[in-house]
Symmetry: C2
Subunit: 387 residues, 2 copies
């Protein structure tokens, strides 16, 4: 055992922050900063859903513990909205309110994994999923699915090749972070059918479900409610990432098991965060989303045009291959050069086997700031490496 | 592996809610309720430290992500206060802001435990510690330390008997939940010396450090800063349990490892919760505590007198042996009879091998409500079992 001063050897496979190499430069840069490395929004939450709108006099229990499963009214509102959108019968017992989607995926993985188990992680992926799996002493197995000529049957072939007797689940994200792609229905149907055949749980990361600009979002739970945990986020939907409120919807019989993990991770989601989330679900949040979606779409499309990329189908990211602009210092040098101009990007390797890509978030600063940051990137990408 | 629809077998050892058996009665009871089963406070946080006091206009990033380690200003304020109180040199790098003390203990256990490791849990203990250890596939080993004639050397003997090659850490809580005892300095010195000799990490749960009515609180970190993780809570100190903000202080070199766990559990502590915590540390919170401590003391002492118990030395709980009042239905019947009168208590077995005890919180409702609930309990305890 790892007696003091040693730590769990299993942790060594978990990286530190994706952005730690850039943190020093970010703190010391003097000019205008283009923080395109973080996934966040420049917008404040809709009026009525800010912390200052929660009066203690109107909410006498707002500084006290919430039930571990979440406030009953919030679980009910989530279930009602989910059923309306997905067509899947859903009630409050199928919902676990969590500390963001991060807490939700932690609850899922903690509930289903034993040490040594494996999770098929469809790549590119949201970076933290690897560490979440490893926290429970299980192993992520990376399965790239995007690329030229990808088909549903090619994805299933790759999944089958990666399967082992220890495989317990697969993780998929749509709209996809970092690519901005919305997974086509036929891909998701093939992935879910594979999971059903192999008796794998499906962890479906749908935190950008409300930001689809092209095509349709397919709710994974509608394809296989008996084995899907869909993970959602008030952070991304309603611009309240700092509140740490998200949720998981899954089979009724599973939710007590998930709740064991979340109860022992943070006891309950912050009460005030749940109360503003509940307010967002009374209609005003959906009206805000309808407006914000068009604003996100406009800034995302403008960024794609400036960078010569296909427009985003959903989400708040673009994923660009910088290979033509790299010199002998590789991606690290490219990111450093960008940082020297105030532009911060997330490195491709954080999202899978993408050694020459960068991810940018086009909603993390006001559109005019994004525009100037994207112009810096476009200029850097246009420089051909000199060798 | 636990393929769908199965779950991690390791979870089966983790119980559901301590209070789930009472939840139905609580929801349906019609008369005045005495909710003495929860550990919370009837007070609102000090003025200026409620959510409505955080204006978005003054805090432009308050709905956005905090850094995973915590807001820099908060970490610095915590370190400064801790150094002032404990005399141990402390800076912001020694602090991890967490989702309550629950998140703090999760980060500690996740960072130090491998599957199969053991943690010596000094009993009686805070119930969730068992599940936190088990979430990481390690085993709690319960070591009762309270009781007639307990001495420092007797505690060390029991710890030595419970030690195994798999022991990685020990967990101790002072002021103690559920007993209301403040651990004497010589006990803690002996426990920490044992840990040092055996190279065990020490997880010291000190969330009630500010509520000591008799004796002195000994900061475990002052005894062995190189192997102690002390866990603290804004919930308990400042009456903001719903905010889910606490912190761990430990060796500088360890904190990156702990942060890996908390980042993958909830990403970061809610930003608004950290902002009100920071406000509480500007002096007004300590003045609030000085006032509240006397109010808690008064209600705790009155409850102890009514129940014929020794007065609480610290914390917000009393732990009463109901054995003389049990009938053939045992503790379950006793708790049910109490619930039939609106009185809800936590069962002794949740805190260790205490089959006939009940725990009551004397701060979970206004003092006059507590007084009436305690009167119900005193009356029930005075009934001798009829057989």
């Amino acid at each position: 055992m790892p007696r003091a001063p040693h730590f769990s050897p299993g942790l060594s496979a978990i990286g530190g922050s994706v952005f730690s190499a850039l943190a020093h430069r970010l703190a010391t840069y003097r000019g205008e900063i283009y923080p395109l490395h973080v996934g966040d929004t420049w917008l404040e939450p809709v009026d009525g859903c800010r912390m200052e709108d929660l009066l203690a006099a109107d909410n006498p229990d707002m500084h006290r513990y919430s039930p571990p499963r979440g406030l009953r009214l919030l679980s009910e509102a989530i279930a009602e909205r989910s059923q309306r959108r997905t067509g899947v019968a859903t009630d409050a017992r199928d919902v676990l309110v969590t500390a963001g989607a991060t807490g939700g995926l932690g609850a899922v993985m903690g509930a289903i994994l034993e040490p040594g188990d494996e999770v098929l992680v469809l790549a590119p992926y949201w970076p933290l999923i690897l560490g979440i799996v490893r926290c429970f002493h299980a192993e992520p197995v990376i399965v790239p699915i995007f690329g030229e000529g990808t088909t549903a049957s090619a994805i299933v072939t790759r999944l089958a090749q990666a399967l082992s007797p220890r495989t317990a689940a697969l993780y998929v994200s749509t709209p996809n972070n970092p690519t901005g792609r919305v997974l086509p229905r036929e891909w998701l149907e093939a992935i879910v059918e594979f999971a059903r055949r192999e008796r794998l749980w499906v962890a479906s990361d749908e935190v950008y479900e409300d930001y689809v600009y092209r095509g349709e979002h397919v709710w994974c739970r509608a394809l296989a409610p008996e084995l899907t945990f869909s993970v959602h986020s008030f952070s991304k939907a309603f611009g309240m990432a700092g509140n740490r409120c998200g949720y998981v919807i899954g089979p009724t019989s599973a939710m007590d098991e998930l709740c064991k993990i979340s109860t022992h991770s943070c006891y309950a989601t912050p009460t005030a965060s749940q109360l503003v989330a509940l307010r967002a679900l009374d209609g005003r949040g959906d009206r805000w989303i309808d407006d914000v979606r068009e604003r996100y779409r406009a800034v995302g499309e403008a960024a794609a045009v400036a960078l010569g990329l296909a427009p985003p189908e959903g989400g708040t990211f673009l994923f660009a291959d910088a290979s033509a602009a790299l010199d002998e210092r590789g991606l690290t040098g490219f990111l450093a050069d960008c940082a020297d101009r105030g532009l911060f990007l997330a490195p491709g390797p954080s999202f899978g086997p993408f050694p020459t890509h960068v991810r940018l978030c086009f909603t993390s600063a006001p559109p005019e700031v994004i525009g100037r940051g994207v112009a810096v990137l476009a200029e850097r990408l246009a420089r051909r490496a000199r060798y």
